[in-house]
């Protein structure tokens, strides 16, 4: 350990997520075993009791997300972790957390689907499930780590965002990030957003500020006399599902509080973009070969760059639109049938050519494959 409290370890992304959660103040975890996320539950069961926290292995993932919701209102920063099938079971609960503005973190260590699919193999197929998995209109925030270090950093950030925006936040890890052991610097001066209890005087639990956000997070049995209601509700929490205007206003705010605050949430890494003619838009483990490809292309004199997204929801459309105004071609490698490319294309609005580089089956793109796409794009550009 160094003087400022940092320590360096060689650990899996899954372990890094656990350490990030603990560092962020997570004191409740409920989960159910599933490959490739089980290490998170296993390590939580070791780490939480000594720091005064609670680990519960629940009967299923439905119970897990609902116990997390109860724990969050109980006063604890709370988290669950799973993979495809389990995350599917949690969707009703995630929607409930969005409706009731319950801060919580859901870690999805993505594997190949649909169905039981590929339990031990990576994918990025669940990115739209994170955003649209539950019924009804709501917004969540989704962070995507590319490395064990980011599994640590972005898990901390996920807890901070959950508290700030009173919203379920996904960490969309994947089997590669989750199981790759690499160097992680932990501890030191990290930013943690503590829970702040709102003032009790005249408190209306769902009265939002001008930015659409609720001030602080109250806990049960602290004198608020809270009513947490899954039906549409007014500022007091009293059901208002039969009131079309109040219902519309609530759903609009639940969406706007994320959408309109996108600049506070967007987190991207720009690599060699200033003069890039071809830009790779990448995220998660796929960013690893993508960045290597960009570097290799640069060494061959090609004006290539990369935009790496650490937050995919809300989608950073302004950033991509701006990039599309400067680069000629955007290439989107992803381990699915070609999904985020739809958002990239929408945001580009025809100002740049957008090339999809999807990959199914779980084998990560090779750097050569992405570099080949960059070179093809350069040639195509010359031909135009």
């Amino acid at each position: 350990m160094s003087e400022d409290g940092r320590k360096v370890r060689i650990i899996q992304g899954n372990e890094a997520s656990v350490e990030g959660a603990i560092a962020a103040g997570c004191r409740f975890f409920a989960g159910y075993p599933i490959t490739p996320a089980s290490e998170i539950a296993e390590l939580m069961s070791r780490r939480l009791p000594p720091v005064g926290g609670t680990f519960l292995q629940m009967e299923d993932e439905i119970a897990s997300i609902n116990a997390v919701i109860g724990a969050s209102w109980g006063g604890a920063k709370a988290c669950t972790a799973s993979s495809g099938p389990g995350i599917s079971l949690m969707q009703e609960g995630v929607g409930y957390a969005a409706e009731t503005e319950t801060p919580c973190v859901v870690i999805n260590v993505m594997r190949g689907g649909p169905a039981t699919g590929q339990p031990t193999i990576s994918s990025q197929q669940d990115i739209y499930q994170a955003r649209y998995g539950g019924h009804g209109d709501y917004e969540i925030i989704a962070l995507v780590p590319s490395s064990a270090q980011e599994a640590y950093d972005l898990t901390i950030k996920a807890f901070n965002l959950a508290e700030e925006f009173r919203v379920p936040v996904y960490l969309l890890s994947d089997e590669i990030v989750g199981h790759t052991r690499e160097r992680v610097v932990m501890g030191g001066p990290i930013e943690v957003r503590e829970r702040v209890a709102p003032p009790k005087e005249g408190y209306r639990p769902y009265a939002a500020g001008p930015d659409g956000l609720l001030p602080g997070m109250p806990a049960f049995n602290d004198g608020y006399r809270l009513l947490v209601e899954g039906q549409h509700h007014d500022e007091r929490g009293i059901r208002a599902g039969d009131d079309v205007n109040k219902s519309a206003a609530l759903v609009q705010r639940l969406n706007d509080k994320v959408r309109k605050n996108i600049d506070r949430i967007t987190d991207v890494e720009r690599v060699d973009l200033d003069d890039a003619e071809v830009a790779v838009v990448c995220f998660g483990s796929t960013a690893r070969p993508a960045l290597e490809a960009v570097q290799s292309a640069r060494e061959k004199g090609v004006k290539a760059g990369a935009l790496r997204l650490r937050v995919i929801w809300p989608f950073p459309e302004k950033v991509v639109a701006e990039l599309a105004g400067r680069a000629r071609t955007l290439i989107v490698p992803e381990m699915n049938i070609g999904k985020l490319v739809l958002e990239v294309r929408r945001s580009a609005g025809g100002r740049a050519e957008v090339i999809s580089l999807p990959r199914l089956g779980g084998a990560l793109h090779t750097p050569e494959e992405v570099e080949g796409a960059i070179m093809d794009a350069v040639k195509g550009g010359n031909a135009r």
Binding site: F28, P49, P50, A63, A67, A71, G74, F220, V228
Partner: protein
């Protein structure tokens, strides 16, 4: 409005959704009297499921969460685990607790987590319009069993006991004083306490299962169908047949989950 109602009801949430003649009001009244006698208002955390019964805690002016269908118990477990000094009470229905939420129900009983689970059993899905429930009698007609129910019902109390509940009682909406006592016992019981309350549902069960019984007739019908242990002792077998046992059905002691979790926090291995 009487004193108890004034003291405990969340005025801005009124009026209640319950149909005329519903038994839920009686049960809620008994619960509030139990709470008043125990003087535990500030420690209460209430959790409602989905269905008519799930609305009962919404009208009580303490911290309350109205959850998803079937998921009241895991939410309650999360609340209890984060602060074990809370008195967490779940209001659920027969469909909510042992239909869609059956898995959570048996596992919470197995864990012996200190919750009070009050299951209102009206033997039907009332709020959705009178469909068959896992408690609907065999042969009964409902909106989804037009030719008679081809399935047999659960005995929720036997299920609770078998799964590990350490306090199990069954009463009816016709036993308000016994309910007050049972609620007090259940709330003070250090473990998973389950109380089934058989209630009249004149609008749905009364119409579809009972062939049009009104509320007083329905309640009288329920009272005729049940028997206490004392009554059973003197009853000839032919009269006893087909009747449902009411009263305190099971009570035992077993280590409670959140106490065991607290021991883990103190570094004791279990």
């Amino acid at each position: 409005m009487n004193e108890i109602a004034e003291k405990y009801l969340r005025q801005e949430a009124l009026p209640m959704i319950f149909c005329p003649g519903c038994g839920d009001g009686t049960v809620l009244g008994a619960f509030l009297r139990a709470v008043d006698e125990l003087k535990i208002g500030d420690q209460l955390a209430l959790v409602g499921g989905i269905g008519c019964s799930g609305w009962m805690p919404v009208y009580v002016n303490v911290d309350t969460i109205h959850t998803l269908h079937g998921r009241a118990i895991p939410v309650a477990v999360g609340l209890k685990a984060t602060r074990p000094d809370r008195k967490v009470v779940v209001f659920t229905g027969d469909g909510d607790a042992i239909g869609i939420g059956g898995n959570h129900f048996i596992h919470a009983a197995r864990r012996n987590v200190d919750l009070t689970v009050i299951m209102i059993n009206n033997a039907i899905y009332g709020m959705t319009g009178g469909q068959a429930a896992p408690t609907t009698p065999s042969g009964a007609t409902t909106q989804t069993t037009p030719y008679g129910n081809p399935e047999d019902p659960f005995d929720a109390c036997k299920l609770a006991e078998a799964a590990g509940a350490t306090y199990v009682a069954r009463w009816t909406a016709g036993h308000p004083r016994q309910l007050i006592k049972a609620f007090k016992e259940a709330i003070q019981h250090p473990g998973f306490a389950f109380i089934e309350v058989m209630t009249q549902c004149p609008v749905q069960a009364g119409r579809y299962i009972k062939g049009g019984l009104d509320a007083p007739e329905f309640l009288a019908d329920i009272r005729k169908s049940v028997v206490t242990e004392a009554q059973a002792a003197t009853m000839p077998p032919e009269e006893l047949a087909g009747r449902t046992r009411i009263g305190l059905l099971h009570r035992s002691e077993r280590p409670e989950l959140t106490q065991r979790l607290a021991a883990l926090n103190r570094g004791e291995k279990r």
